[in-house]
């Protein structure tokens, strides 16, 4: 349900940066989505196709770079994927751990077509 609002934010950010750079068309959006912030699923593309109509980003492709959640062991410095059943270091068995990644949720870049006249001059 919240994907609609999130998609609108995404569109606003993409259009803002696209226009600022003088793009005439936005072809792709490269998103970084950490496992711990994975509040979006494939329905974002569906909402995107509706919301982006009539904008320079119409029909753009959304590329999701999924970042797995990771834990770090304080005792042996081992990094490993967060397992949804137990928080124990697979290397040394320690429970002295912290979250070391997976909270990302940002638009990394957009792939655009620039104004031909401007770029050639």
């Amino acid at each position: 349900m919240h994907e609609l609002g999130v998609t609108q934010s995404l569109l606003d950010i993409a259009l803002h940066h696209g226009r600022q750079a003088g793009a005439v068309r936005i072809n792709e959006l490269n998103l970084v989505v950490g496992e711990l912030s994975s509040i979006v699923d494939d329905s974002v593309q569906f909402y995107w196709d509706v919301l982006s109509q009539g904008t320079i980003a119409q029909g753009a492709r959304l590329n999701f770079k999924r970042v797995p959640a990771e834990l770090r062991c304080h005792d042996c410095d081992h990094h490993f994927p967060l397992n949804r059943q137990e928080y124990v270091c697979p290397n040394c068995g320690s429970g002295n751990l912290t979250v070391a990644g997976g909270e990302e949720f940002f638009l990394e870049s957009i792939d655009v077509d620039m104004d031909e006249v401007r770029t050639e001059s």
């Binding site: 999130v6 638009l107 957009i110």
Partner: protein, 221 residues
């Protein structure tokens, strides 16, 4: 000419900006605000009612409730507390815009504590900042001890955790150590209170802690 333009902007930034405006308004009015999150049936309303009962004569409170029907809110309004219903229309969470829009419906200048009851859900509300000072997560014994492992984002972002229905521990295998370990890995600075709304066990510790936070707020404002 195809080009890649770097952006690196948080997708939640629009929400977070509105949350920041809410925070400014709350601070100006000297109000401490809580964002109460839990599963459906975890005990949000019970904790809120019991907290209001205890503080009724000493703290000026208001309640904002994200719900579809105003049943919970009527109980609170009957106690003479200003309330504001945010009709979420089935939405899975409150967002900063909904809360900001509801602020004018409460007499902020006459409040010390604003309690915001979020939608019953352990996933989506974690992602949407509201501008509150404290995120309070309520888990409960019947839900099982694996909740910090299944819903890490919710526990990672909390400031306070109430483990409710402790009186049911004797009826089911609830591994408190396993639960606490999960929480401590995700969030070492989290404040933790095991409580029971039914028996009152542990509730005084939560109230004492909250009372201190309200006092700090008032003296700072």
């Amino acid at each position: 000419m195809p080009n890649t333009i770097p952006v690196v902007e948080n997708i939640m930034s629009a929400n977070d900006q509105i949350a920041a405006q809410t925070r400014i308004q709350l601070d100006r009015a000297g109000v401490l605000a809580l964002n109460i999150m839990a599963s459906p049936g975890g005990g949000k309303t019970s904790v809120i009612l019991k907290t209001i009962e205890a503080f009724h004569d000493e703290v000026r409170m208001g309640v904002m409730d994200g719900d579809i029907v105003p049943i919970d809110l009527e109980k609170i309004a009957d106690m003479g507390i200003p309330v504001s219903l945010i009709n979420t229309g089935g939405n899975c969470h409150l967002d900063a815009n909904m809360v900001h829009g509801a602020l004018p419906s409460l007499p902020l200048d006459d409040l010390d504590l604003l309690i915001i009851e979020n939608v019953g859900n352990l996933i989506c509300p974690a992602a949407f900042k509201l501008g509150t000072h404290l995120s309070v997560v309520i888990a409960s014994v019947p839900e099982g001890a694996d909740k910090p492992y299944k819903y890490p984002a919710m526990f990672k972002g909390a400031d306070v955790l109430l483990l409710n229905k402790m009186d049911l521990c004797e009826y089911q295998d609830f591994d408190v150590d396993y639960f606490r370990h999960g929480v401590e890995v995700l969030n070492p600075s989290l404040t933790f209170f095991p409580i029971s709304c039914r028996t009152g066990e542990g509730f005084d510790a939560w109230l004492a802690w909250l009372r201190d936070r309200i006092a700090q707020r008032s003296s700072a404002g």
